[in-house]
């Protein structure tokens, strides 16, 4: 599709220095959640829950890929990836990333993210909701390893777990 209207590219984020000389690059987290929550609501009404989750996962994945290419830059090994990622997530106020397990050869990882954008502090629900983050992590790992990844959130603030825990494995 050549004539798509909304094909994303990094430069569509715009020149923030130029555009927001007084307010700068930050905004309130409620606004982010407001947008995500309303998107999710409308998408679910139109396309159903499963499709909505898929859309969020895929969008997160695209974001993860773009983030890797444009923010993390040259990464040569796994340790460097984690360091750069931790630093970027922290300085940009996205969340606190921690590694619990990593087996680079097997391509199997467990990460936790606390104080995150999507769910920290939300009321308790019966289900994990960080689908976008799952995709985001998958996108990052795919860019780094060149292999497909399945990422699943196994614990979430929303299920009372106080931190979000993600399992990532190379796709079969």
């Amino acid at each position: 599709m050549l004539d798509r209207k909304y094909k994303f590219s990094w430069d569509l984020l715009g020149n923030i220095d130029l555009g927001r000389p007084n307010l700068g690059p930050t905004t309130r987290i409620e606004v982010y959640r407001l947008m995500q929550g309303t998107f999710r609501d409308v998408l679910e009404q139109r396309f159903g829950t499963e499709a909505t989750d898929e859309i969020f996962y895929e969008s997160g994945k695209m974001a993860g890929q773009c983030f890797y290419q444009n923010v993390l830059g040259d990464i040569s090994n796994y340790e460097q990836l984690i360091k750069a990622l931790q630093e970027a997530l922290l300085t940009m106020g996205i969340g606190v990333l921690r590694v619990e397990e990593s087996d680079v050869e097997k391509g199997s990882f467990v990460f936790t993210i606390s104080e995150d954008l999507d769910c920290s502090g939300l009321p308790e629900l019966d289900y994990e909701i960080c689908t976008y983050d799952e995709g985001f992590i998958a996108g990052l790992l795919e860019c780094f390893t060149g292999k497909g990844f399945d990422v699943k959130e196994i614990d979430c603030w929303c299920t009372g777990d106080r931190t979000c825990r993600f399992e990532a494995n190379i796709s079969n």
Partner: protein, 349 residues
Amino acid sequence: MTDVSTKESLFEKIDRLKVAVGRDVVGDVYECLLQILSTYSTIADSPSIIGDIVKPIHDLLLAENIQEQLPELVSLDKKYISLFEDIKNIRSFMLSLANGDLTQKLILKGYFAGVLKTFHANLKHLTWQTEMVSRGDFTQRVHFMGVFASSFNAMVEQLDSTRKGLIESEKKYRLLAITDSLTGLPNRHHFFEVAMAEFSRAKRYTKTFSVIMLDIDFFKKINDSYGHYVGDRVLQTVAEQIQKSLRETDFPGRYGGEEFIVLLPETAIYEAELVAERIRCSIENNKIIIDNGSISVTASLGIYNFECAAGTSDVSTQSIDEIIDRADKALYLAKNQGRNRVALFSNEL
């Protein structure tokens, strides 16, 4: 505790109500109330029943050994069973945490499990961080787990500074081991290491290199007339003049006594002669300040050029000792020709 009088007055009121309104109207309500009241009075009248129900849960919290057999009254109650199982899971998860086994997983959700999972996540991340430190990443810092964090960070900082100190002193000792302490030039041993490497390289890639041997003229006389202190000053000054006169790739060394040596990689004989002449002039023209005035010294230099070209007959037989020996022979030629000069090795020597 059962308040008997309250219960009786309740029954009386219901009876009066039944008479006043008629059984049909309050029939169902009456039956229900009777059931509730009788259950309430049975349980309340027998503290042992509540005790029986509470005991398995209580045991989960307090006892080392627990009873899997649930009291009959609740043995089929799904909520009770699930509460019992949840606490049992938490209990075994906590035990494995306490024993340092971080491989267990807590499937349960909710606040209590969440708090334990946070603790579990902290411990796992800490383990990972410690692993990273052991692999040489000394930038790892812990920003959680309160007072433990500051101790851990202090330990990593200490390890890092100790490691840096060790690297520094290793560098220092390595330098000491390869340097001549008086002149600061590479010592004879180190010079040989470098020269051997250059020799093999030249042979492998069919390259040329030259060696200059240098001896300070009448050094024994200087030592005898001015003393060892001035002798040492002369050696240091000559070393400085040699270094000043070299190109970046030339490699000097103190050979021993008043003898110095220079390796000139990829240098043909005429280039080596230029360098040697520069050294000789620099030494001759330099005044060495001593207590009451100044002295100047001269040096004699001999050059040997190793040429590893096809058809050169003696390549394979030459060792680095032989090469240095030939430079030495040239040096003695310079001495014999009247000192303060440069001489080249020739096969006639």
